[in-house]
Amino acid sequence: MTWDESFERRLPLIYGVVAIVIVVIAVFFLPSGPEQRLQQLLADRQYREAKALLDREAERAMRTERGWADAIEVNIQLGKVDTFGPLVGDALTTWAESDWPREYKTEIVDALGTFEERVDWAEAEFDHTPTLQGFTFLVGAMQGRGNTRREGEFLQRGIDLGLANLTHVERLAYITAAEGDAEAAIRLLTQVVETSPKPPPQARLSLFSLMVENGQAVAAVDLAVRTGLDPNDTASRGAYIFALREELRDSVHEIIGAL
């Protein structure tokens, strides 16, 4: 018997094995009857029927990730807050690698969360996926709480991630200045004053004052002159005068030389 003949004789058996494998795969990986039915009902917006199916055959209908997501969607469409809240909570654990449970959680927290719940979830989300929206919300929340240490941490992360604007840099500068880290504050304020098309007076004055107080009088005057002193800005003028009067007595020759 040639190999071909032998193969032909075994062909029905091979077909049978392949068929069995396909069936096994289908049983384990394709949606079950209830899952398919759930998908169909959801597509047809037959939410009540879908809910009835879930009540009857939850385990089979929610056997896969898709089934879970469909079950949550059905409950959301029906406004069953008591049901979809815990379901999403369970999905966050069960399908921890997937994004959709997080998206549902975000929707629910945005719609129904207390302020504290919003902050807690925003922190968790920011750790997972930092976004501009999460960054600004958390910075604002920490500012509202008066928690400048945490606010400073988020600002620094936002700057590192490229999410922050110059207002955030300025704010971090004031926080670091209030904490006594003059060097960091000077660095941050310099960035604000040097790059902002119209630096805020408080930033220019704070930078000037910090530089003078930290032995950088000549550089302070140079920066102030270069970034434009406004002679009509009386409030600023007072601060400059204060700084000059208090700090520059010993440096006057240096400054004159610099100017």
């Binding site: 029906l78 807050v81 129904l112 969360g113 919003r118 604002g140 500012q143 209030a178 504050a185 007076p201």
Partner: protein
């Protein structure tokens, strides 16, 4: 005998003789018209009017450039409050008049800038003005604040919704005048010799520096109070306990009401295929809760201008209006979205807007849907005819009245769209004999976590008043009806937070007819209806609320003695509230008139007034009373006759009466007589001083209740 006469004379001399004095409730509110274009945009309206209202005060707005009223007019105010942020320089005469007013007992409260110029410091009147507020102006302003630290920080007043930050905004350097002031907040800095006072209170007024009362957190896009404005204003106004007209409570219970704007009446319902939204709302929301009243506002244009659906709207409107728990209301004729454009109406401008929108829509139609931007609202939903106030109000009322069953007419006109009617529209509604309401969008929840989002009672428009709805509708909870549609579940938090730790507002379930489209919105509605059903509330028709608010503004209080007042013109306002009295304090019913009950709740004493009378005499003392009086009732109680061993009154409301009386221990007989003469009798025992009368009677008509001690003959 001689001793007796002497004792009598001594008592006469020592007894404080208080001449009848009308308590001043109006506060002059000065705003900067160049910075804040209309009253509804002012900081005073958005931030301070709510706490002032809560404390019983009425704000009268005045633009600062108009100057102060004359001395006599100024003295009629309980206080003057200004909140300006630069750009206003007041004249020397302003400070002179202010000083005279303060010396005459008018409290002066400054939020933000004083309004002084650089030259003001040279003038004695300015100096005197500041000294009366406990301040001296050094002329300095601190811009660099990284080395500023708090010197005095009274945590009773600060850290209310947001905490003060270590990073301070700039501040003017006012130092303490040593004029008996209490400094609530001050800062020190190596840049100044003395601490700068940022918040102070004196006997003559108060000062609150800019940037330290509240803060707009830009990253949150939310405003939060640093200061407790309720406590601060109460402290500055410094009034002994007095009967504050209260709009939250009726018959000892928190008021509940509900109203529907008729938008989306015939929208197809996803929740009940084959039905329109109005039918779903009728069956699943209104008819399912006959114990909870609702006022339904029809858009009359749905009948006048919509030829296709008019018959369906008419049929469903008749069905809904015929339900006994439904009050008939109007939600305009053409449904204006932009009332502000109708104040100085220009038909051609409206037609131009319609044309521009049509063009924009045709252009947008070619774009990919994701790129589409949402066009703003048109001026009106039905714009085939030019706008006219008569059609909009009287016309809408006439159309709606035709659909109402015998015995019912439109009671309430519900503003649409931007809810910013002009004085002509408000006057037209008043002249048509209906109450008006809507606007305000009050929320106090996780998304709007501040009392700054609790609107005041009304908006002043010329000489008219627009009454704000108590709570926001589902629109603001559902991203303007784009979903999630279950969003109005969050209303529960606003109900909780405006009910405790002090009762600031009633409970208002406010929604649109299109809420019947979705399961989610329906679930949110029934969730709140279930809360209202299971909570101790006094459910009323929505039109009663603006009537009560009207009573708030009209009520006049005269002090007759230390704990005695005469109260007039309260109209439908059924409750007076005393804050800061002991929980043993209660009315002396024998000496009072028009007071039918009392209840102590969350550190306030609520007195129930008999609104069938136009004046009341209130006398308080600490002695328990043997008179039967109202503790609380689900139904409104009026026409009451109180006495020892007897109580009778007329009750009207929704659901079961659920009546509780203060009554000495013992057995009582009661009888409830319905309009047709049917009598329901029973007996009940007073336990711990409270007599509960619980019956299965439900009636939409008034019933009479009589209670007697059991041992007395009937």
């Amino acid at each position: 005998m001689k001793k007796l006469v002497l004792s009598f004379l001594l008592v006469l001399v020592l007894t404080p003789s208080v001449a009848a004095e009308t308590l001043k409730r109006h506060v002059l509110a000065l705003y900067n018209g160049s910075d804040e274009r209309s009253i509804k945009d002012t900081r005073l309206h958005l931030m301070l009017e709510t706490p002032f209202n809560h404390l019983g005060y009425i704000l009268d707005y005045r633009e600062m450039s108009a100057g102060l009223p004359d001395a006599e007019a100024l003295r009629r105010y309980a206080g003057v409050v200004s909140w300006i942020e630069a750009d206003v320089v007041v004249e020397e005469d302003y400070f002179r008049r202010a000083n005279e007013a303060m010396d005459a007992g008018v409290k002066w409260i400054v939020f933000g800038d004083i309004g002084a110029s650089r030259d003001s410091r040279a003038h004695s009147e300015y100096d005197g003005f500041l000294r009366r507020l406990g301040l001296v102006d050094t002329g300095d302003y601190i811009t660099v604040t990284y080395d500023s630290t708090y010197d005095v920080l009274n945590r009773d007043y600060f850290g209310f919704e947001a905490q003060l930050s270590d990073v301070l905004p700039g501040y003017p350097v006012f130092v303490a005048a040593g004029n008996g002031e209490e400094t609530l907040l001050s800062v020190q800095s190596p840049r100044m010799a003395q601490s700068a006072v940022l918040a102070a209170v004196t006997e003559q007024g108060g000062y609150m520096a800019s940037g330290f009362a509240m803060k707009f957190v830009e990253d949150l896009q939310r405003t939060l109070w640093l200061l407790d404005p309720f406590l601060y204003l109460e402290r500055v106004m410094d009034k002994d306990p007095w009967p504050v007209p209260d709009t939250t409570t009726l018959s000892g219970r928190r008021i509940y009401f509900s109203h529907i704007d008729g938008d989306g009446w015939v929208n197809a319902s996803q929740a009940e295929p084959g039905q329109v939204s109005a039918e779903v709302i009728q069956h699943q929301v209104i008819e399912a809760y006959p114990d909870l009243p609702v006022s339904v506002g029809l858009v009359a244009g749905d009948i006048v201008y919509d030829e296709v659906y008019a018959p369906l709207v008419e049929r469903t409107a008749r069905d809904i209006f015929a339900l006994p728990q439904v009050e008939v209301a109007s939600h305009t004729m053409t449904h204006p979205f932009l009332w502000t454009e109708l104040v100085d109406y220009d038909r051609q401008a409206e037609l131009d807007d319609i044309a521009a929108r049509a063009l924009a829509e045709s252009q947008l139609a070619r774009l990919d849907t994701k790129q589409k931007t949402v066009l703003g609202d048109p001026w009106r939903f039905y714009s085939a005819n030019p706008y006219h106030v008569d059609e909009e109000i009287a016309g809408a009322l006439a159309v709606t009245n035709r659909l109402a069953p015998a015995g019912k007419t439109v009671q309430l006109y519900l503003w649409s769209g931007d809810t910013s009617p002009g004085p002509v529209e408000l006057a037209a509604a008043r002249e048509a004999g209906v109450l008006n309401m809507n606007g305000g969008d009050t929320r106090l929840d996780g998304e709007y976590p501040s009392y700054t989002y609790v609107a005041p009672l009304t908006r002043t428009v010329g000489t008219e008043r627009q009454v704000y709805a108590v709570n926001s509708n589902e629109n603001t909870y559902t991203n303007l009806w784009r979903g999630p549609f279950y969003g109005q579940y969050l209303l529960e938090e606003t109900w909780q937070r405006t009910g405790a730790p002090f009762r600031l507002r009633p409970m208002n379930l406010y929604y649109h007819m299109y809420a019947g489209e979705r399961f989610g919105s329906l679930q949110a509605l029934t969730h709140h209806l279930d809360i209202a059903r299971s909570t101790e509330v006094a459910p009323v028709a929505a039109s009663l609320y603006p009537r009560i608010v009207g009573g708030f503004f009209e009520t006049r209080v005269e002090q007759r003695g230390g704990l005695s007042w005469s109260v007039r013109d309260y109209g439908h306002l059924g409750t007076l509230r005393f804050d800061g009295v002991a929980d043993t304090t209660q009315p002396n019913y024998a000496a009072s008139r028009g007071v039918i009950g009392h209840r102590y709740d969350q550190s306030s004493l609520y007195l129930a007034l008999d609104t069938s009378q136009s004046t009341a005499k209130v006398v308080l003392d600490d002695a328990p009373s043997a008179v039967l009086s109202l503790r609380q009732s689900r139904w409104k109680v009026s026409g009451a006759d109180l006495g020892q061993c007897r109580f009778s009154a007329v009750l009207q409301g929704f659901g079961r009466p659920e009546l509780e009386l203060w009554a000495p221990e013992g057995e009582y007989r009661f009888a409830l007589t319905q309009a047709g003469g049917a009598v329901s009798q029973g007996t009940a025992r007073s336990e711990n001083g409270v007599l509960s009368i619980d019956t299965d009677i439900t009636s939409f008509d008034p019933i009479t209740v009589t209670v007697r001690c059991a041992e007395l003959e009937p």
